[in-house]
Symmetry: C2
Subunit: 280 residues, 2 copies
């Protein structure tokens, strides 16, 4: 048996088409949507990701300003720039790219992004509203996990889901989104004892740890659904997930690919959030 | 075998003693700590709880204003009063008591409580900061669960904890507090399939559903630790938990009692939060 491939490409392209139409309507109405991405790193994969967001945004009719503050930027300078962008009426979405310079923490700085423009759901108010079930933009990656499962007809109510990783950008928010959809959710992490036993008890495994190939066949129950959130750069310039696809595909019932799974949906959702913010 | 009783009384009295000393120091310094509890219900058990907070506050040297808006209060009137109290420099802690009138939701109204005075961690910003690991007051009941476990020397790192209930005041925040202490946390709820199987796999079960006696022996692994957050009024004016203590005590290794477990610690923590807010 080989697992069904849960591609994100069709879903991403449907979201992009809808978003492009909304962007065109906003532009025609004199309110062209605009996204600002604040960068303070020389990290190559961050640069690659930002270029890909900018390219997708322009294609969808959303202007995208990459605001590069340099890898030496202080937390104060980053915060100030985020506040300026938040106060700028022509900017509708603001993202702070990671990694950040030493001494600057995303969860702290992101509170300088106005809640209404926090299109990647990074600030504490967005996160708290998400947990409370109030309107807010969810972190795009976390939302992409749920969107890809729903797109492929996987009904989450009553399923046991193991989320591996407890980051603020994926693990914690995805746990809440899954809980809101009535899944029984277990959050695992580096201090979990006997991780394979925990993940093997789950109907769905969400791998979001950032360690290439961590999840092998022994972590997965036969027939389970596996969502691979990892995007680990390889030495030859490629990208691999947190899941060892070769072994897991023989055991899982379905598996999202890397690339072409959660990634494209994430970018499409960021753009959707930006036009929604512009339409407010 | 009968389970060890994990009383909350000693811990509560230690917290109250420390809090009384801090309150006396603040009062001597011309900053007498003051708590306001906004009530908009005729519910008897809410009234009982509010009286008990007020009594404990006065004993600890904290003035406590019970602001009764009546069971017919509108969401707008409640919000306005919370904003006034938030703007009042002589008030350091503000609590909105539940239940609320139809059309008024705690998670929505609590955002009118200034974050610095949100001593029961009810607002979305407090919740988001808690999830993000930033300084914030946790909901007192959720914090009490963790405090009582730590007080009795139960090291949470690596333990599997099943939280039964996903409310904003207990289930969700306690899951984060436990995760921060490196437990592997599963959140279960009314849509969980085969709840006894899920809870029986856990080292610690936290029952926070509000249904008297729901957790019986078959939900608990032999030797597990059980924390009973329930406070369900009985017909004869007593209080019972979510745990069927008679059957569970024969199987669990340790169990918090109701009353005398999580309850007194919760009240003590609310008062501690109030003096901390006054000391800022």
């Amino acid at each position: 048996m080989t697992a069904t491939v849960l591609s994100g490409r069709d879903l991403a392209s449907a979201i992009r088409a809808e978003t492009s139409a909304e962007a065109a309507a906003l532009t025609a109405a004199g309110r062209p949507p605009r996204l600002a991405v604040v960068v303070a790193t020389a990290d190559e994969s961050a640069a690659w990701y930002v270029r890909s967001i900018a390219r997708s945004a322009e294609k969808a009719g959303i202007s995208c300003d990459v605001v590069d503050l340099g890898a030496d930027a202080t937390a104060g300078a980053i915060r100030e720039r985020l506040s300026e962008l938040s106060a700028d009426d022509t900017v509708h979405g603001v993202i702070l790219q990671t990694p950040l310079p030493a001494g600057a923490a995303l969860e702290d700085l992101a509170s300088a992004i106005a809640f209404e423009k926090d299109v990647d759901g990074a600030g504490p108010l967005s996160l708290g509203r998400l947990v409370a079930g109030l309107p807010a933009f969810a972190p795009a990656t976390a939302e992409a996990v749920v969107a890809i499962l729903e797109h492929h007809g996987i009904a989450l109510t009553g399923l046991r889901v193991a989320v591996v990783g407890r980051s603020l950008v994926v693990g914690k928010p995805v746990a809440h989104l899954l809980l809101d959809r009535n899944a029984t959710v277990t959050v695992c992490h580096s201090r979990t004892v006997d991780l394979p036993a925990v993940t093997s008890a789950a109907d769905v495994v969400v791998a979001a740890v950032g360690r290439a190939g961590l999840i092998t066949a022994e972590y997965v129950r036969r027939g389970a659904v596996v969502v691979d959130v990892g995007t680990n750069p390889t030495e030859d310039g490629g990208l691999v997930g947190d899941v060892d696809a070769a072994s897991v595909a023989e055991r899982a019932g379905a598996l999202t690919p890397v690339p072409g799974g959660v990634g494209p949906v994430t970018t499409a959702l960021l753009l959707r959030h930006t036009v929604r913010a512009a339409a407010r």
